[in-house]
């Protein structure tokens, strides 16, 4: 029997606190599309995507209407294209990317992920070709998203790939210079990439996944923030243990909504339900910010001492609530801090209180990494590579996922504003104080060996 307060709390969460399902991502295996003929390969991919995903958007819209819960994004994740299109070279990869873009438009999903290479221990010719193709693919397609996994706890860090990605990110930025380097927003460089992550740009359909699967990304920074504010407004000054408990309870409810919607969508599409990714994913909307949650905890200036501890508390409480709510938790599952997409974080960067070094520290206690950070357009490739290496090291050593989504903004300098639009938001370009000093380290290449605790058999 539900209590009145439970009912009202749920209604409030749905109606007033920006609770939504951030993404329903349909994972589709494309490995069976392989063909020695590139035209045939593209035809098979397009046919399969349209066949499997044609009902995705309408089903999501119907279920969102019935439950009164918005499903903000409907997306597709596919098998790593570096494997699907192996042997077809850069030209073939471009044709496949165009096919993915066309199919995504046809089934009306906003993004398709899986233009992916897994190179943590070394790269195949096809993976190298995919990486080289990224500037063209991400500038010429609208909906294709890419990810490159350069490190893992088991394999170490492939520094040759890291070096290559620094230059590639610069080239992508130049190829989309008219949009403030926006092409880079569709690429994540990972350590320990998850196979079932539903969030873009890093979603792909892993080798261990079934033929088709529905994965859900819930959100809800607004719900957590309001719950916290209400709790604090009740009069007593809660200690941080009580704050964690309140966040945990809220996370439980948010996750449950995600699982409910996910299972409904999966059932309607006739495919298995995969996971709920219980990440707190902010949007540029006021009140839908991870930074504002930290402020509600008492971090009045984001980036000030205490920010990392507050974020650690938030991340842990979110996980604990979510894990109790669902036996199908996966993906990245933590608090995201994508700078341009989070109003409070973007403001802190603009004010100069939140700097790259602090963000890097914060990524050691949350998901996912240095995300949606605009940097000066003249940042050299080796500096970008070194930032990727640092972030990958945090992921590798701490046995967690970390990612880097840096956006060099051509023609703009630190302090200027980069505008990406929509959910991608806008951000002040961040200063990198020691720029141009990392080349000797990055140039060594090779592989940073896996840490001792990777040998845990």
């Amino acid at each position: 029997m539900l209590r009145t307060e439970d009912i009202l709390r749920t209604v409030r969460m749905l109606q007033e606190e920006n609770l939504d399902v951030r993404t329903v991502t349909l994972g589709i295996n494309l490995m069976d599309c392989s063909s020695p003929d590139i035209d045939q390969l593209c035809q098979k991919i397009e046919r399969k995507l349209v066949n499997k995903a044609s009902r995705l958007v309408s089903v999501c819209n119907d279920i969102a209407g019935t439950y009164g819960i918005p499903i903000v994004n409907k997306r597709i994740a596919v098998s790593p294209i570096s494997s699907v299109a192996a042997g077809h070279g850069e030209e073939g990869l471009l044709a496949v990317a165009a096919t993915l873009d066309r199919a995504a438009r046809e089934v009306k999903v906003d993004l398709v992920g899986g233009y992916t290479a897994l190179v943590q221990k070394g790269a195949t010719p096809s993976e190298l070709a995919l990486m080289r193709s990224l500037p063209m693919v991400l500038s010429q397609t609208e909906r294709v998203c890419s990810s490159v996994n350069v490190a893992s706890t088991k394999a170490g860090i492939n520094m040759d790939a890291v070096k290559m990605m620094g230059q590639i990110i610069r080239d992508i930025a130049l190829s989309t210079a008219d949009r403030d380097g926006f092409g880079c927003a569709k690429l994540v460089v990972f350590a320990n990439i998850p196979e079932d992550n539903p969030f873009m740009a890093g979603a792909y359909h892993g080798y261990g996944e079934p033929e088709c699967v529905v994965n859900i990304g819930v959100s809800g920074p607004g719900v957590v923030k309001r719950a916290l504010e209400r709790f604090i407004a009740m009069g007593k000054s809660p200690d941080l243990g009580q704050v964690a408990e309140e966040i945990k309870t809220t996370s439980f409810r948010v996750t449950r909504v995600g699982e409910l919607i996910g299972r409904e969508v999966a059932s309607a599409l006739g495919v298995p339900f995969g996971i709920v990714d219980l990440s707190l994913a902010p949007t540029p909307k006021m009140g839908d910010s991870v930074g504002e949650i930290l402020q509600a905890m008492g971090i009045t200036v984001l980036g000030a001492p205490g920010s990392t501890a507050a974020l650690a508390l938030l991340n842990d409480a979110v996980k604990k609530g979510g894990l109790f709510a669902s036996s199908s938790v996966g993906g990245m599952s933590g608090a995201f801090i994508p700078v341009s997409e989070d109003r409070a974080l973007a403001h802190a960067v603009q004010q100069g209180t939140l700097r790259l070094e602090k963000l890097e520290a914060m990524t050691s206690v949350c998901s996912v990494g240095l995300d949606m950070i605009a940097i000066p357009g003249d940042t050299d490739a080796d500096t970008i590579s070194a930032i990727i290496a640092d972030e990958a090291a945090i992921g590798m050593v701490n046995n967690k996922t970390t990612g880097v989504r840096l956006i060099p903004v051509p023609g703009k300098k630190a302090g200027e504003i980069a505008v990406f639009g929509g959910l991608f938001g806008e951000a002040a370009i961040m200063d990198i104080p020691t720029v141009g000093t990392s080349a000797p380290f990055v140039a060594r290449g090779g592989r940073i060996p896996a840490p001792l605790h990777s040998l845990n058999n």
Binding site: T10, R263, P272
Partner: protein
């Protein structure tokens, strides 16, 4: 032949009413089948079913219960139940939804919303309403026929009191179960 009865009893609330009622029924050789009880604005109400052995009359049951309280304290009504055979569970021809209305009180809220629901063949199966000062709260569990357009219902309900501070929401009951119950159960997949 045993008497199968349904009893309602109302009184000002105090400690010990259920104990007095149960004792009285036991003294009449009766067995309680089911109870629904609440206290609202200091008034106690109870609805219960009971079976009595032998030829216990309805009047005897009523008088016995009235005598369990102080003189004039308990207002009791006793009726014969038409059937005591439990019906097999019937599938509801619709989905369960929770209707909530919160905001400023006014005289026509319940009459208007219940008329709208009845007009759309929506059955109210449980209703709670409360007024404190000029703040009004209503929570209803309703069954919405499957052929109804939920989004249209939500629009219509919000339109019942345009420009008046009364928030009306109709949400699927599964959401409330999912967000409030410890175990997650789902009939599909």
């Amino acid at each position: 032949m045993p008497a199968h009865v349904v009893i309602s009893l109302m009184s000002r609330d105090r400690v010990g009413i259920i104990a007095a009622v149960a004792k009285s029924i036991f003294a009449l050789d009766g067995t309680i089948g089911a109870i629904s009880q609440t206290v609202m604005d200091e008034y106690f109400t109870i609805l219960l079913t009971a079976d009595f052995a032998g030829d216990t009359s309805l009047d005897a049951v009523r008088q016995g219960l009235e005598a369990a309280g102080a003189p004039g304290e308990f207002h009791v009504s006793v009726r014969q139940r038409e059937s005591v055979q439990p019906k097999p569970p019937q599938a509801r021809d619709g989905d369960g939804f929770v209707l909530t209305l919160t905001g400023k009180d006014r005289p026509d809220i319940i009459s208007r919303v219940s008329a709208y629901l009845a007009g759309r063949a929506i059955n109210i199966i449980d209703l709670f309403a409360h007024t404190r000062g000029d703040a009004f709260l209503l929570i209803g569990q309703v069954v919405v026929p499957r052929d109804q357009d939920i989004m249209q219902l939500q629009i219509d309900l919000k339109g019942l009191w345009k420009d008046y501070p009364l928030a009306v929401h109709l949400q699927h009951e599964d959401i409330f179960a999912a967000t409030n119950e410890i175990a997650f159960t789902h009939s599909k997949n």
